[in-house]
Amino acid sequence: MAEYSLSNRKVLVSNKEMTFSERLYLPAIMKGMGVTLKHFFGKKVTYIHGKDLRNYSSTYRGLHVLKRDDEGRERCVACGLCAVACPAEAITMVAAERLPGEEHLYREEKYAAIYEINMLRCIFCGLCEQACPKEAIYLTDRLVDVELTRKDFIYGKEDLVEKMDNRIDISNRQHH
């Protein structure tokens, strides 16, 4: 067979005998350990979930928020389109009718009395956000907390609806 290489990456394998130091094995081990030890003193590449802040992409899809409008009224009308769009069936809701005197709490005559997202089922695909006709649900760059029991991952309205003194900015994600 001719000694040609189309890719120029062809290497001939030789069957040469190992030298004495190579056969000792220890120098190669020390060299390998040295490589490992070197990384102990370098920059850490691991992020601790929920503790360290890493740089998220501006389109990152994390924990949902149920937005309020400028006057602080809940936007969600429990139309159920997020639930029907959800491929993981993570969203459930129960609607209720707004009573007279509650106009400052809910924007329209119908609102979600119960709105739950099971964060263990959720795959953070963002289809709920796309389906929402009322611009009520958005995914944010926040993370879902670590919990000890499964039922703690079912987020209700108290976790999802934004607080008036702690509004969640979703504009960054929307500009992309």
Binding site: V77, A78, C79, G80, L81, A83, V84, A95, A96, E97, E108, E109, K110, P133, K134
Partner: protein, 317 residues
């Protein structure tokens, strides 16, 4: 009488309307109808979405009709040739009619209980109407309770008159009608008089939009989360044949059975509709079938399952 609709020829009896003839053929060429209801007398000719082009009036006089005609109130003549979906003029006119119907409609589908089974929603979706040229404010009414079981949401009404004619048909004296004229017209009971007829709940079913809704089902669920089942019971007031809308083992609401054109098959009484919401009241005979495109079939087991055959070498799998 021989009529040809979009190239399909059919023999129909004299006195048949174009819409009925089209329904006898079936399929895509059936014009939509918002106001016409075959079980309610005198309906039709109001909404104008069923307009079609008559390209040949009859065999004797084959001249085309100069304007589009409403198919629900135009009777056929021998040798009539009609174009519906094959005529771009009809489709354009229909699109404009739907836009006009939406002039005062609030498009509050996310809130409305009719969403998912609303004819106006289907029409506006089919005709791709996104923006309206209307610059004026839409008319706004307060919600009214007609009796303790029916909610009238006048904002959503398209003034099809179906409910008015149905009330005329069911009651000996007129209890409910359209007050005022033109832009001010509104459905009303005569000075807030409640409709207390035993069959009055059927106005909910004949309403093509969400103007008349069932208060016992108000905001309970969305129709696409429920499983519609055919159910029967022995009722001394009505036929006792209904569709029950179930969530798990619970009956959320009871409606009459609707045909594929959204018309009521047989009217049911208020006792069946409002008071019999336990599974022990009904004999459930099977799932109610809805058209493939209906959102009601979302996640529903009556949807036909398609078997996928992978064309690959058997040894590979």
């Amino acid at each position: 009488m021989k009529v040809t609709i979009d190239g399909h020829t059919i023999d129909v009896e004299a006195g048949t309307t174009i819409l009925q003839a089209a329904r006898q053929i079936g399929g895509d060429l059936v014009p939509p109808a918002m106001c016409y209801h075959s079980k309610v007398d005198n309906t039709g000719g109001k909404c104008r979405v069923c307009m079609v082009k008559v390209t040949a009036g009859s065999e004797k006089d084959p001249r085309p009709m100069p304007k589009l005609v409403p198919s629900c109130v135009t009777t056929v003549q021998d040798g009539m040739v009609i174009e519906n979906i094959t005529n771009p003029q009809v489709l354009e006119a229909r699109k404009n009619v739907v836009e006009l119907l939406l002039i005062n409609h609030p498009l509050d589908c996310p809130v409305c209980d009719q969403a998912g089974e609303c004819k106006l929603q289907d029409l506006s979706y089919e005709h791709g109407i996104v923006d309206s040229e209307l610059v004026e404010d839409k008319r706004v009414f307060d919600m009214v309770d007609i009796g303790d079981k029916i909610k009238l949401h006048m904002n959503r009404c398209i003034l099809c008159y179906r409910c008015v004619y149905l009330a005329d048909q069911l009651t000996p004296e007129r209890v409910h009608g359209v007050m005022f004229r033109g832009d001010k017209a509104e459905i009303s009971t005569y000075i807030n008089k409640a409709i207390d007829n035993e069959m009055s709940g059927n106005v909910i079913d004949v309403c093509p939009v969400g103007a008349l809704t069932d208060k016992t089902f108000r905001f309970k669920s969305r129709v696409w989360f429920l499983k519609p089942m055919n159910a029967e019971r022995n009722c001394d007031k009505c036929c006792g044949k209904s569709t029950v809308w179930m969530f798990g083992d619970e009956i959320y609401r009871v409606t009459s059975r609707h045909t594929q054109y959204g018309e009521v098959e047989e009217f049911i009484c208020n006792t069946c509709r409002y008071d019999k919401k336990s599974t022990s009241d009904w004999t459930i005979t099977g799932p109610r079938d809805f058209g493939q495109a209906s959102v009601i079939n979302q996640n529903n087991y009556v949807q036909e399952l398609k078997k996928v055959v992978i064309k690959a070498d058997k040894r590979l799998l």
